[in-house]
Each structure stands twice: as structure tokens, then as C-alpha cells.
Amino acid sequence: MTTATAPTTAPRRHEPVVSGPSLARLTGVELRKLADTRAGRWLLVTIGLIAAAIVVVQLFVVEPEDQSFTAFFTPSLLPVGLLLPVLGILSITGEWSQRTALTTFALVPRRQRVIVAKLAAVVLAALGSVLVSLVVAAVGTLAARATGGAGAWTFDWQLLPYAAVFQVANVLMGAGFGLLLLNTPLAIVTYLLLPTVWSVLSAMITALREPAGWLDTSLTMEPLLGPDVTAGQWGRLGVSLAVWMVLPLAAGLLRTLRREVS
């Protein structure tokens, strides 16, 4: 089919040669969906604003001689990491709460492709958020220099992949919860309550303290914010993510594939 081209004025194509949308195309569509509603846009803007706000706070509370690039970068990761799961959840559950799944799956009936594209889109968003953190840290460093702080450009480059893993894990955990529960408020509340439940339970029940070190993601992900992660810490992180990210994603994918859309 290189030479035969249908005249564009033909009312209909009798022999349509149509290939399915590529994953890259679908990811592009899903990225667009993250930002094309007022709610979605504000969530993205809020993530950026919070990262910026943290830097401003650092300018005031951190001793001037300690105001370095790293000192601005690392603290901005935490609040962003709290909102990214919400982005992950909304990107999945929005299709069901707004019932757009009916259109989405009519155009792409192989639902797993839509899910993979959605996961790719939120991972890209998470990586983008790390870039935002870098930018606001750079602006903060410049501001620190202007206001009499040290403003040292010291940065341990190890922090960058750690930050990426941290944010990607956050957003994918959210997406996993969304995929499994397919209900926005339920997924958000469950996700946000989980760490609290862990800390309350492990405070009350001593037997839970050891497993918490392997399963409580708020503990296992903490080392990612420091300069070094030991092999043991990677192990704990892997176990906790297998339970709270891989398992919900896998079970949620199965559920989404089988679920009736109406």
C-alpha cells in the first residue's frame, strides 16, 4: 500500500487500511487528559506551587550558611510525593467516575493498552515533577545568594535517580490503588490512611514493628531522600513496593480487564 491512495473526496473508504494506535500515541493522549480539565490542571499547578512554596519556606527557616541546592531540592520532594499518588489515582478512576471509559474503551478495546499508556503518562508526570523540583531548587539557590545565604551549588548526583525512583513509586502506588478500587474517594482515602494505620498499629502492637520495616512504605522509602541507599534498604523497599505497588497494579489490571463498562 505505497502507491494506492484513496481520493480524499471519496465519501467512504471501502477497504480501510487502519492500524491501531501506537502506545506512544496513547501515552500522548493520556498525558493530555491529565491536563485538559480544570481539576487536572489545578492538581498539576498545585504540585508546582507546593514545590515552590517549600523552597520559599526553606529560605526563611534554614540557616543561611546551610542554604544549598540540595537543601532546597530534597524537602520539595515530600509534599510533591504526597500529591502525585492523587494524580495517579485520578488518571485511572476518572474514567469510571466520569464514565468516559465507555468512549475510551470503544476506541481502544484492548484495555490493557489504555492502562499501560496511563501508567506511562503518570510516570512521565512523576519524572517531570523531579525536573520541577530541580528548577525550584535552582531558583531557591539563586534567591539564597541574593539574600545573603550560602547558595552553594553542591548536589550529590546520586540524589537524582533516588528522587526519580521515589516519585515514580509514589505515582504508581496511587495508580495501583486507583486501578484496584476504581473509585476516586475510596482510593484516595485508603491510600492516605494507610501510613497512619501502619504507625498507629505498630505503635500499639510490638509484633508489627519488624514487619513494618519491610512493609510500611513511609519507612522504606525514606532512605531515597538521603545520599546513600544500602542493599538492605533496597531490599526492604523492594518488598514494600511489591506489596503496595506491584500487587495492586496486577490485581487492578485484572479487575479492569474484566469489568463491565456501562
Binding site: H14, V29, L107
Partner: protein
């Protein structure tokens, strides 16, 4: 072309759709008729791969829907006009679909224009749309990939009379150019004007199907007598299945000759005796809403 082959859907003990079989030929408009809850939407969702059937199957353009690589380019689907993100604009809704299908962006404006959504409407968020506007947007979405098959669930819902008239013309034209249309409705009159074939569903099963003219012709006999009570008894005695019409007469599933003979034998004076036509189909349709006993009445 759409082929529906023994589709059945059970929800626990409840059977929503039972053994539904029909075909929609190229170049025709098929009206899928039935009262609310008859199983129309469930059947259409099964055709489009949204609902897994308990048994049976369906193909569109020769393949099960889920196996179509880019279905939007072959089949335009409108299952529920309200199922759109309230926060997106009409144009954005179409743009997302155009990107997914790989359709030229110019088509978005062209299709919006085709369904009569102007620039102002296209820029508004779908949440602010009336049901009629959502139907038009849904139709634009279905037509966006220039498909050869249209599957539309209650597309006339919420449209004003002018809009319904416009849609009929659009669907007729689509079929006349070699397209296939399956559209559902719970209003016979709405479908009658545009459909070539009718599939009537009640209580999850197909109770009648065929060419529109043939169905309307075979819709029984309308009979009226001075003594309605005596007529009822006579018809019952002659074992002619009759249902009481809304305005006093009876619709009988038999030829006018048979009914006339029965009346003559009983010495009844008839005031009206004629093929029921559309009224008969409507009667059949009304009785469908009465419940499961209808199936017997029809056969």
C-alpha cells in the same frame, strides 16, 4: 455489517438478554426496539465489547469488536451521550478521540459543524450541555473516524423534533451510501421513519424481527364491534389471540378474513375490520411492557 449470534447475558439468576440473534446488512438501517429494560443497551454493550456475554457472540465488520485494531475508524459508537467528562469542552472531547484514532485534526471542526455545534458550543464544557447537545456531540464522536458502521443507543433521546428530523436524514444518507446503522429506541414512531428493518426485543428475547414493511403488514388485524364484550368472547372461543387496544378495539394476531369469519359465525356486527399496520406493531410494543406473559401473546 453486524452479526449478533445467540447473545446471552445472565446476572446471577436474572437473565438480561437471552439468545438474541440478528444481522444488520450493509446499506440498511436497523431499528432495535424495545421498552426500557428490555435488554437493548446490554445487547449493544456486548456487541461493542463493553460487557462480556455469558454465551454467544457478535462480530462487527467480520470480527469481534475487541479484535478490531482501530475500531473508531470502522465503527462509530454512541452508547451513552451522558458518559462524557463534564470538565472537558466539546472540542477537547473530540480532539482526544481524533488523536487516539489518528484522525486529522481538521475533522474535529468538520464533524462539530456537521452535527450543528457551533464554535461557542464547542468551547463550552460538556457539563453545561443540554441532553440534546450531548447527543449531537456523541454523534460527532461516532462519525469522527468516518466509519462504515454506526451503533447508536437511543440517539434521539433529548433531541427536539427538528433535531430528530435532521438525524433521520443523516442516518438515511449514511446507509444509502453503503453504511450500516443499528439504532435503538423505545419509541416505535421514532424508528419507523428511518429504519428498513426492525428487531423488537422484550424481556431480553427477540419477539419479532424482519423488514419494516413486512412486520407492519404482519402486525395483525384491528377489529371493533358494537358489542365489545361479545367480540372478546367470540375471539376467545375461536382461539384467536387478541389484545385490547387503548381505544376500545382489539388487535388480533390473525388475518382479517379469519376474524371476520368468526364474527359472522357469531352474528356480530363489526364497526371496523382492517390490517392493524403500524398500530398493530405499536400494540405489540405496548404489550411488551406488560411483562413476561407477552411472549406467549406474541407467538
Amino acid at each position: 455489517m453486524i452479526e449478533v449470534d445467540h447473545l446471552t447475558k445472565r446476572y446471577g439468576p436474572h437473565t438480561a438478554v437471552e439468545d438474541v440473534t440478528f444481522r444488520c446488512e450493509t446499506g440498511t438501517v436497523t431499528g432495535f426496539l424495545g421498552p426500557n429494560g428490555a435488554g437493548k443497551s446490554t445487547t449493544m454493550r456486548m456487541i461493542c465489547g463493553m460487557t462480556p456475554p455469558s454465551s454467544g457472540g457478535a462480530t462487527v465488520a467480520g470480527r469481534p469488536y475487541r479484535e478490531l485494531p482501530n475500531p473508531g475508524r470502522e465503527i462509530g459508537v454512541l452508547l451513552d451521550a451522558s458518559a462524557q467528562h463534564a470538565g472537558r469542552t466539546g472540542r477537547e472531547t473530540l480532539t482526544l478521540a481524533a488523536r487516539t484514532m489518528g484522525v486529522d485534526r481538521g475533522q474535529v471542526a468538520a464533524k462539530l459543524d456537521l452535527v450543528g455545534l457551533n464554535d461557542t458550543a464547542a468551547r463550552r464544557r460538556v457539563g453545561a450541555y443540554s441532553l440534546g447537545m450531548r447527543q449531537r456531540l456523541g454523534l460527532a464522536l461516532a462519525l469522527l473516524g468516518d466509519p462504515r458502521v454506526l451503533i447508536l443507543d437511543e440517539p434521539a433521546n433529548g433531541l427536539d423534533p427538528e433535531g430528530i428530523f435532521w438525524m433521520r436524514g443523516l442516518l438515511r444518507d449514511f446507509a444509502d451510501r453503503g453504511g450500516t446503522v443499528l439504532l435503538s429506541s423505545h419509541l416505535l414512531r421514532e424508528v419507523e421513519a428511518v429504519a428498513d428493518r426492525l428487531v423488537v426485543i422484550g424481556g431480553g428475547t427477540v419477539v419479532a424481527q424482519g423488514g419494516k414493511d413486512e412486520l407492519l403488514a404482519g402486525a395483525g388485524t384491528l377489529v371493533r364491534a358494537r358489542d365489545q364484550h361479545a367480540l372478546r368472547l367470540t375471539l376467545d372461543r375461536a382461539a384467536l389471540p387478541a389484545t385490547a387496544g387503548a381505544d376500545g378495539g382489539f388487535v388480533v394476531r390473525a388475518e382479517p378474513g379469519e376474524v371476520g369469519q368468526a364474527a359472522a359465525d357469531a352474528g356480530l356486527v363489526l364497526t371496523e375490520l382492517r390490517p392493524a399496520g403500524a398500530g398493530g406493531l405499536e400494540q405489540l410494543f405496548l404489550t411488551l411492557t406488560a411483562g413476561a406473559s407477552t411472549k406467549e401473546a406474541v407467538r
